[in-house]
């Protein structure tokens, strides 16, 4: 994910409400914000920056369907086709009895599929080096990064915008 040879302006905020207000203010001045980093989830931050709504729910649903179909195939094949057995005088294929196994497999596939989709779509993995503009973003600060190459306004203009929006510090970071 790391971009190479890019210049970023990094604003440090002390409070999530100020950071969120700052994002709205800076965006309305026509500046594109690269990303905001925070120690916890801030509701509305993703839409304020302009990130599209996550489609991870669709992935979850698809994995669920796959899980259910796998369970359906497994129970039908083992109980009804490969070795049909009459148990308790009932039809070898008695689906109501397979509901628990089907349910569990659906949940299992959904949970694992969705979580791994989450890891992959965010570029998370055991060997990944985190892209940190400021390490305090996992502690108590809210970090706003603006990619200068993607913006028309000059560095000084954006810097003054960030300062005016309530940032504690502004710095330049080369990646």
């Amino acid at each position: 994910m790391a971009e190479i040879n890019k210049k970023f302006l990094v604003g440090v905020y002390d409070d999530e409400d100020i950071a969120l207000a700052a994002v709205n203010k800076i965006k309305s001045a026509g500046v594109k914000i690269y990303e905001v980093y925070s120690p916890f989830a801030i509701h509305g931050m993703d839409t304020a920056i302009g990130h599209p709504r996550s489609r991870i729910g669709i992935a979850a649903f698809c994995f669920g369907v796959v899980g259910f179909l796998c369970a359906l195939t497994l129970t039908t094949w083992t109980m009804g086709i490969d070795w049909p057995m009459v148990i308790g005088g009932k039809d070898p294929l008695s689906y109501p009895n397979y509901v628990p196994a089907m349910f569990e497999l659906t949940v299992l596939f959904t949970a694992f599929g969705m979580t791994f989709t989450f890891f992959i779509s965010n570029g998370l993995g055991p060997t990944v080096k985190p892209l940190l503009f400021d390490p305090r973003c996992t502690d108590n600060k809210f970090i706003m990064a603006i990619d200068l190459s993607k913006n028309k306004l000059s560095e000084t203009e954006i810097e003054s915008l960030i300062k005016a929006s309530g940032a504690e510090e502004v710095s330049v970071k080369q990646l």
Partner: protein, 475 residues
């Protein structure tokens, strides 16, 4: 931006800032193990060692070393299994169901409760392996292609459902727990001073950097995982109860079992969370995070589920009489007044009467009482399973084969094994991982911190500090 009413009691007291939260929780992970921790850990290792010897002998000699007989062929093994699975229900309830209900007080306790869930489910699984007798054939419970004429597992059997339910529950709980841990592991990684811990927490935190995009997806999958875990947790104990309910033994063959077992599971699980959290809270000085509000809220759930369990006991009795089935009526009469009357009345006192004490505000906000009643509840819930299992079996259809069950040192030793295992895991967890979900707690402290200067959610600082809720907390 979250909105919290200014009249609500703060979830975290002491006016903590975000940096305070990081510091308070991380210092337990970063510091050297304390003397108390070492002593407790060595004791639990010793208990585990003794249990391991007993378990080894159980497997070496065979299940004959247990006190089972021809009439009572299922006793402590399954009792302990159900007991531990039940305890393992609280973690998911707290993190999933309370998330769906937007109960923000869950944030201080969900991490430890989920850890407890995972360890309790492992203990439960160990009893499954134990009473297989030949644990090396455990894979027979899975639908694997084989050379026995390609015989498959029987999907009509609740025992197979159990295999699916417990393994799914365990793995999904681990997933849920780990996803929640990643942001906190990143916090520890960014504070780490030495190379080894920087590397280990770096690998575990998967390169997390807290970007808004990641957080938005994180919130999304937390919600879906919670939505999945909620029916999952209910299904697990439902299926466990069906191990009994689908049989035709009087005393087991009742349709009330699923809801009754689920309520009982949440009941005992919360009691165990209370026990663990009350100790952790004092040892780690987390009184500002696990406040009397948390203790009280959990006690309310204990009272509610305890009452549901009580109603279930009475309903069972009524139905046994009302059905007019002689065997059914006798099974229940025998529970109450037969040779195991003491187990029955221990169960009744511990589970139905003791949680009713929590109707008193003083008792449910008292640490000592809460701890005491929680222990009592756990004893009671163990007796509940013992009563259901042993008293339904020990007097079967032919009076000449009536028998009693008495545990041997291996029944007891294998139970001790699970305690040793549980506490060893819990102590390791509490030392090397953050016991409180820092990221989620930081998300809920805003409304209460006096150090935060600004207007929050339209309420000014002065107004916030003057609110009755804030004063109530300061008492």
């Amino acid at each position: 931006m979250h909105v919290t009413s200014p009249v609500r009691t703060p979830l975290v007291t002491g006016g903590k800032t975000y940096a305070d939260v990081t510091e308070d929780i991380c210092k337990q992970v970063e510091g050297k193990p304390t003397k108390e921790w070492k002593v407790a850990f060595v004791i639990s290792l010793a208990v585990l060692a003794y249990g391991t010897v007993c378990l080894f002998w159980t497997w070496w000699e065979g299940l004959g070393v247990w006190g089972l007989n021809k009439t009572v062929g299922w006793a402590w093994d399954i009792t302990n299994f159900v007991w531990w699975v039940g305890i393992g229900h609280a973690g998911t309830l707290i993190s999933a169901i309370l998330l769906l209900f937007r109960q923000k007080w869950r944030t201080s306790i969900n991490r430890a409760a989920e850890a407890m869930t995972i360890f309790a489910v492992l203990c439960a699984a160990s009893f499954i392996l134990m009473h297989m007798g030949r644990p090396w054939l455990a894979y027979w419970a899975l639908p694997l292609p084989n050379t026995f004429g390609s015989l498959w597992v029987n999907f009509n059997s609740p025992l197979v459902w159990d295999v699916f339910a417990i393994s799914t529950y365990f793995s999904v709980s681990c997933l849920f727990w780990y996803v929640g841990l990643v942001p906190d592991l990143a916090t520890i990684r960014d504070r780490a001073q030495n190379k080894v811990s920087k590397y280990i927490y770096g690998v575990l935190s998967l390169g997390w950097n807290g970007s808004a995009r990641t957080w938005s997806r994180y919130e999304y999958i937390s919600l879906i995982l919670a939505g999945l875990s909620t029916p999952l947790v209910l299904s697990v104990h439902t299926i466990v109860s069906m191990d009994f309910a689908t049989s035709v033994i009087p005393g087991w063959h009742t349709t009330i079992f699923p809801p009754y077992f689920v309520a009982g599971a949440i009941f005992s699980g919360f009691a165990m969370v209370q026990n663990l959290m009350l100790v952790t809270r004092v040892v780690y000085k987390l009184e500002d995070y696990i406040t009397f509000e948390h203790i009280e809220s959990m006690n309310k759930i204990i009272t509610l589920t305890g009452s549901i369990v009580g109603v279930a006991y009475l309903t069972e009795f009524f139905i046994a009489w009302y059905s007019g089935v002689e065997y059914e009526s006798y099974a229940f009469y025998n529970r109450m007044a037969g040779p195991y009357w003491w187990a029955y009345w221990a169960m009744m006192t511990c589970n139905v009467i003791s949680p009713q004490l929590f109707w008193s505000r003083k008792i449910r906000r008292s640490v000592k009482w809460t701890f005491f009643i929680s222990v009592i509840v756990n004893i009671g819930m163990w007796f509940e399973r013992f009563v259901i299992i042993v008293t339904s079996l020990h007097r079967d259809y032919i009076p000449s084969s009536w028998a009693m069950f008495s545990p041997t040192m291996f029944d007891i030793g294998d139970y001790i094994f699970s305690f040793g295992f549980f506490f060893t895991c819990f102590f390791l967890f509490s030392k090397y991982l953050p016991v409180i979900n820092m990221a989620e707690v930081k998300g809920v402290i805003k409304s209460t911190s006096e150090k935060l200067p600004l207007k929050v959610s339209g309420v000014s600082k002065a107004e916030r500090l003057a609110s009755p809720a804030y004063k109530k907390d300061a008492e």
